[in-house]
Symmetry: C2
């Protein structure tokens, strides 16, 4: 990357947004909110409670229903208004047994996890030769039909990035690899886990079959197992693997969103929506994904409104079924998309510190961005020149043009844990969690109490 004189660029791009403003009357409450939220226990208690008393909560299962009941009870106890569940139905993929072993030339077990929507193998499993592709591009370049009867193996290694951007790029192996492999005739596909750790824990995650392909068994190997399989293949002898991935699909299972509010003084000013998701993958207890996000937004809303009602209603959306395709976010949009929304924000990237704020606001709202940034700066949070984009739970609202602020969390260690059995409470750093609550509290306060229209009125 070329070195640029940052001062000049900043002035050009952010000239009006980030110029200092005189303190407004609202800003006198900011230091108090920020400091109180840094001592927060509500978020930790929420995460500890949900992960201990409910644990894993896959979308569309009885465990997710338990999570909704738990969240409703907790949100009522915390004093939220209009606490309710909003049900919908969805198809559910359920994991069975995940087993694999190298049969030849060096027999040994492999650790793996079926990917969401994987086809099931027969109960006795299936066995075939493994064909290795170092990258997804190599798999794509394989001639049609060339994998007939074989097991494809793609071992494209992901490295950690602070902004999590490597997930988008390398995650394509999980999202697209299974469909590509099926199209070329493979009877199953193994991928290297989309993860940055070195533990014998496989990273699950959803993938959707392209319309034109037959679903095949698809699974992720732990990164040490992927390394091992690459080494075994490197010995130059044909490598045969036996895979047993039993799973099933159920149609029309109950899922739902949980909604809670802190009512504002001016219903016509639109709601500020703070989103997270209640469901988790099945292997861990979903502490960082996404009990943390739910703890953060609930705690922050309470801190923001502690001194009394703000102009706008803060609405908490604890979405269902984020992990498997965003059914909860779509159900929310179907039910509430026509209501005025002044702002949407989402917390779904763990519990490590917020390091950057991104904005996407209507023209003429630079002063609001400047006030939010000024409120965040004492927490060590910088601003970006990247437009905010939200996440799965609020995607339909963002696409509909609702303003959005992203409080970007440090993702350096997120993909060590993401979608593995290791997503447990011990991975949550309470001090960093409290910084999140503080950042969210001041951002919600500034936004919910902003005199600006935010496109609503």
């Amino acid at each position: 990357m070329q070195k640029i004189r940052l001062g000049t660029v900043t002035a050009l791009v952010f000239g009006s947004i980030f110029s200092p403003l005189p303190a407004s009357s609202a800003s006198t409450g900011i230091p108090t909110i920020r400091e109180a939220a840094l001592q927060d226990n509500v978020a930790w208690d929420f995460i500890e409670g949900l992960t201990t008393e409910v644990g894993p909560r896959p979308a569309g299962t009885a465990r997710e229903e338990l999570a909704r009941d738990w969240a409703v009870a907790r949100l009522k106890r915390l004093g939220f208004a209009n606490v309710r569940t909003e049900p919908y139905k969805m198809p559910v993929w359920l994991r069975g047994r995940d087993e694999a072993e190298v049969i030849a030339p060096f027999p040994q077990k492999l650790v793996l996890a079926a990917l969401g929507n994987s086809a099931s193998t027969p109960n006795r499993g299936l066995e075939s030769e493994v064909i290795y592709f170092p990258t997804l591009a190599d798999l794509q370049a394989a001639p049609d039909g060339s994998l007939k009867g074989k097991i494809a193996f793609v071992s494209h290694a992901m490295k950690a990035t602070q902004d999590g951007s490597s997930y988008g790029y390398f995650g394509a192996t999980r999202r697209q690899g299974p469909s590509i492999a099926s199209r070329k005739g493979a009877i199953a596909i193994l991928i290297r886990s989309i993860g940055t750790d070195h533990h014998r824990l496989a990273h699950s995650g959803v993938q959707m079959w392209a319309d034109d392909v037959k679903p095949i068994p698809a699974a992720a190997l732990s990164t040490p197992d992927a390394d091992q399989l690459v080494r075994i293949i490197g010995r130059g002898k044909p490598v045969r693997v036996h895979i047993t991935l039993t799973s099933k699909m159920l149609q029309d299972q109950p899922s739902g969103n949980v909604i809670a509010e802190i009512p504002g003084k001016d219903p016509s000013a639109g709601v500020v929506l703070a989103a997270c998701h209640l469901d988790s993958w099945d292997q861990g207890t979903g502490a960082i994904d996404d009990a943390s996000g739910c703890g953060i937004v609930a705690a922050a809303a309470l801190h923001a409104a502690k001194a009394g009602p703000l102009r706008r209603t803060i609405r908490i959306l604890m979405a269902g079924a984020e992990e498997v395709g965003g059914d909860g976010g779509r159900a929310y949009f179907s039910a509430h998309g026509a209501e005025p929304h002044a702002m949407v924000m989402e917390s779904d990237f763990g519990s490590d510190r917020v390091w950057r704020a991104d904005y996407k606001l209507p023209t003429g709202h630079d002063a609001l961005a400047a006030r939010v940034s000024a409120a965040l700066a004492p927490l060590g949070i910088t601003q970006s020149r990247t437009a905010a984009g939200g996440g799965s739970d609020i995607e339909p609202l963002v696409k509909a043009g609702i303003p959005v602020i992203d409080l970007q969390q440090d993702g350096t260690r997120y993909f060590d844990i993401h979608h593995t059995a290791d997503d447990t409470l011990d991975k949550v750093d309470k001090a960093q969690l409290q910084q999140n609550v503080s950042a969210w509290a001041v951002a919600l306060f500034e936004t919910a109490d902003a005199p600006e229209s935010l496109g609503v009125k």
Copy 2:
């Protein structure tokens, strides 16, 4: 700890051992050996090969036999003399299914691994209430019969130490806990893994039943699962757990040691024995425990003797069945204990750097210790005032009074990995491994070529 003036104490304790000596003729070869060994690839290739081409190799199984065949072939190819296996028979405990779940009050799966010699549950498992003991002392204090029909749970947390000493203390929970629990009437015992990590991978390990107790199912929970169970119990409701630990015992299974030598010029001067173990636990590929030790001692012996035969024979002992009680070490002693041994050393603590040398030498051999320490010092290795004690594979020889040097490895992260599925090649740091080879090479050179008698003649 009181601060002491280290210089004074060192002078008192180590006065004669560590005073500088004039360079001997032998010492001119030391820098060459030390530097060449720091570039070693033999140890890495040994570890990579054994863990890839054999993988897990539990004692007394066909996989351990594969490992012996592999090691014999590799040692012959490396140019060792008198390469051979020395068989013996042993009882073998074989792991089956390891499954557990909390039934009430918060149903969820737990990750665990049966401990060696655990009794098997019925195939359908067993279920009972869990009785929690924070420490082993609390379990010991429970009245006799008070655990009748219950599952004991001891969650004594171990912390990392550089010298590994916390394993001795906290490992008592694994070694003694099952017998104590059985004696008090428990139908099963769960312990917190004897480990220092925070991953959903349970640490296995052997335990031996006391003569007066009935074996019961015994398993270690991963540390996050132990934390979770403590939290669940902390809610104050009775906690019921279902455990399925199927396993079996076989009698008179074949195991064996692998021996290889670099013959010395003076057979009557006694051998220098460099030991490691070939067997591993079943969950990982035994990279740090103990393919590393075997790679280190084999590579170091070659570096030590590169310039030609030394005075004494260097004998490599790659012992079988260390993990399950030291059958290989005892078999070696039965076969060879009467032969003159000038020195025994063992490498069985991973592949992280050697940081300290401990000695136990005959009276009057201070000059040899000083020469070894001087050869090790450029590698950043200090000396201790602790007497060397060896390890399981050489325990009978050490008890018989054979001189011993311990090249103590840094154990800070060893118990993150030890006896888990995570014991894989990626945990080996090649630079630290090469430092081990270098330290061993100079220590073997000085010892095998020493003019001193070392109690032999």
